[in-house]
Symmetry: D3
Subunit: 161 residues, 6 copies
C-alpha cells in the first residue's frame, strides 16, 4: 500500500518552525516523507530553490525518513510520477481554509491524490515565511520562529543585502 509515503509541498522561503512542526509530525505518521519545494518561475524569492533545499536538509537532518526535493508544474503530476498518494499540509487559520480545500478537491478530482490536513501547533499559528522575512529585515528577534541555522542565514542575508 503506497499510502505510507507522503509529500509536504511548499515554497519554504525559508523553512520556519511551523513547517518543521508539520514535517516532523508527518514523519511519524508515514514511512517516508518528501518535502518538495515548488519552483515558481513567476515569483522571486529571497532564497533560490537550491538554497531553500539546503536549509531544509540541515533542519530535517535528524529525521531519517525525510528527503528533500523540488518540483515544477502541477503537484498532482509530481505525485503521480513519484508514487506519492498523499499530500500533508498544515492548516493555520480560516484564511488558509478555502484555498486549501479548493486545491485539495481539485487534486483529488484530477488525479485521486488525497490531501491530509494537520492542525498547526497553536504556537506557530501566526507564523509564515513572509512574516519572518519582514521581521528579520528590520533586525527583529526571530529566534523563536525559525531554527538557528535559518536565523543566522537571514541575519547574514539582510546584513549583506
Amino acid at each position: 500500500m503506497s499510502a505510507r509515503r507522503a509529500v509536504c509541498p511548499g515554497s519554504f522561503d525559508p523553512v520556519t518552525n511551523g513547517h518543521l512542526d508539520i514535517v516532523g509530525r508527518a514523519s511519524r505518521l508515514y514511512d517516508e516523507v518528501v518535502v518538495a519545494v515548488l519552483i515558481n518561475s513567476t515569483k522571486d524569492g529571497l532564497y533560490d530553490v537550491s538554497e531553500r533545499m539546503d536549509l531544509l536538509r540541515e533542519t530535517t537532518a535528524d529525521l531519517p525518513n525525510v528527503t528533500i526535493d523540488s518540483f515544477d508544474g502541477l503537484l498532482v503530476d509530481y505525485c503521480k510520477r513519484h508514487d506519492l498518494p498523499v499530500v500533508v499540509k498544515g492548516l493555520r487559520a480560516v484564511s488558509d481554509f478555502d484555498y486549501e480545500l479548493q486545491m485539495a478537491q481539485m487534486n483529488h478530482g484530477l488525479a485521486g491524490v488525497e490531501t491530509m490536513f494537520l492542525s498547526t501547533n497553536p504556537l506557530y499559528s501566526f507564523l509564515s515565511s513572509s512574516l519572518v522575512k519582514q521581521v528579520a529585515r528590520y533586525g527583529g528577534d526571530i529566534s523563536t520562529l525559525v531554527p538557528p541555522v535559518v536565523a543566522k542565514s537571514l541575519a547574514a542575508r539582510f546584513r549583506d543585502g
Copy 2:
C-alpha cells in the same frame, strides 16, 4: 508503525453518503479503519447506538479493513486504549473549521493523537445527518444523500413514528 490504523469518530445518526465518502477514502489510506460511534448520554438521537452501528456495518460491508465500534468518554482515551494514533475527519465548510481545529489541537496536546482532515467531496458539502432527517421527516427525496438501506430505514421510521 501504528500510524497505519485510524479511527473515524462521529454520531452517525444515521450514516450519510458524506460519511461513507470519508470512510471509504480513509480505508484506502490506512491498513485498518475503525468507525467509532460516540455514545452521548445527554443527547437523544433518532437511532440508538446499536442501530447506528448496524447501519454502518451494512453500508461498509464492502470495505474489508473497516470495523465498527462505539465509545463513551474522551476520544483520546479511546484512541490510547485501542492503539489508534490517527483520527480521520472530513471538513465540509468553514463553520466546521474552528471547532474541529480546536478539538484536534486539544487531542494532540492531551495525548499526542493526530487528526488528519480530508476535504469533503463537494457533492456532499451540504450534507449532514440532521438535514437528512429533516428532509426525510417530511417525505422529501433523500435517495442521493444516503445509501438505499438508510433511505428505507428512515422512511419506515417516520412512517411509523
Copy 3:
C-alpha cells in the same frame, strides 16, 4: 415566467427592521413577494405564528405586492405547491454563510428552487430577533431596531410577562 414571484421565509419572532429591509427590497425586485413564517413545532417562540403574521401584515401594509403566509414542513415543498421558484434571503455575516449556502444547495438539488441572497444593510448587520428580545426583556431601547408597532408589542409582552 414564474420567476417574478419570490418567497422570504423565516421565523420572524418578531419581525425586525432588518427583515423589513430585505422584504422591501425584494418587493421592488419581484412582482409578488410572499413572506412565509415557518411553523416549527419543536421550538417555542415568544409570539405564536398568527401573532407573528399579524405584526408582519401591519409592518408591510405599505407594500401592495407583499402577502403574509405560514408553512409547515420543507420550504421546497411549500415553494412547489405555491409556484414560488425563488427564495430571497439576507446575508448578514460569515456565520450565516455556510448554513445558508448548504440549505440553498440542498433546495436547488432537491427541487430546482433557487435562493437569491441580498447583502444586509450594514445598519442592520448586528440585528436578530433574539438580540431584540434580549434587549427588550431588560427594558433596553429597541426603537431603532424594530418598527414602532413591534416595539410597543414587545414592551407590553415583557411588562405583562
Copy 4:
C-alpha cells in the same frame, strides 16, 4: 418593472463551467441577462477582452436571452447607463464573501443597484479561471472544468505560447 433584466459581471479570462452554471441559472430567473466583461487596464489577462467575449458568445449560444458586452469604469455606472437594476453573482466560498458583500453594499449605497448572490453548484466550488489556467499550462486535464471550445483554445494557447 426593470428588475427583469440582470447583469453578470466578471473577468471571464476565460469562462468556466462555474460561470456558465451561474449565467444559465440567471437566464431562467430574468427576462434578459447581460454578461459584462470588465475591462481592467492595469491587469494583463491570458485572453484580451474581445477573445473573452467570443468564448462567452460561443458557450452561451443556446441561451437566447443572454447577450455579451464589456464595460470600463464602475459597475454601477454601467448598470445605470443600461437600466440594469440587478447584478447576479455566484458565491463559492467564505473567502469570496467579505469582498463581495462589501462591493454589494457599496453598489447599493452609491446607486441603488441590488446584487443577488446565487450559491455556486458544489461541483464547481473549487473552480476559478486562474486554477484552470494553471492546470492547462502544464497539460493537465481540464475537460470537466470548462466547455470543449475553451479547453481547445487553452490547449492551443499554451502549446503555441
Copy 5:
C-alpha cells in the same frame, strides 16, 4: 477620564487559563478591571455564580486592581450603572468573531459602550470552559488548561457527582 476602568464579562464556569491570560493583560492596560460573571437564569452551570466568583477571586488574588462581581440583565446597563466605559474580551477564533462583533456594535449603538478585543494567546486558542469540563468529567489531564485550584475543584466535583 473614565476609560481607565474596564470590565471583563463572561460565564466563567469555571475560569480557565485563557480567561486569566485576558484578565491579566487587561489589568496591565487599565487602572481597574472588574471581572463580571453573567447570571443567566435559563442555563444551568456546573458551578453556581458564587462558586465561580470564589474561584475567580482565588485565581486573581495576585492582581490588586482586579475585582470580581456578577450581573443580571444587559451588559450595557451594568456598564452604565458602574461607570465602566470599556468592555475587554478575548477573540479566539473566527467562530467567535461574528457574534462578538454584533454584540459590540449593538452595545456601542445602545449605550456608547466600547468593546476592545484582545487576541487570545495562541496557547489557549483551543480552550473553553465547556471543553475543560468535558475533559475533566472523564478524568483527563487538565493541568495545563486551568489553574491548580480549579483543577482540584473540578476533580472533586466529578468524583463526588
Copy 6:
C-alpha cells in the same frame, strides 16, 4: 501607567470616514493617540507620506489629543521607541481577522505590545481606501465615504491625473 497612550497605524492613502471613526473613538479612550502612517517603500500609493499626513492633520484637527506621525520598519520597534504600549485597530470583517490576529499575536510575542481591536461602525464596514480611490477615479460620489477635504483632493487628483 503608559497604557494611556495608543497608536493607530495604517497606510491612510487617503484617510476615510472609517479611519476617522476609529481614531475618534480611540481619542476618547486614551489620553494621547498617535496616528502613524506606514512608510512602505515597495508599494506606490496615490498620495505620498507627507500628503497623507497633511490630510490626517486637517481631518483630526478637532481632536486635541491626536498627533500625526509616520514610521518605517517594524511597528513594534516604533512602539518601543515612542513608549506606545497599545495599538488600536478597527476590525471590519472576517477577512481582516486572521491576518490581524496573527500580527497582534506576533507583536505581543516579539515585544509585549498589545493590540486592541474595535469593531468598525457598520456604516463603514464596506469602506477601504482602495475602494474609495476606485470610485473616485471614475467620478463616482464619495461624499459619504470620506471627509470633504479628502473628497476635494481626490477629485483634483483624478481630474489632473
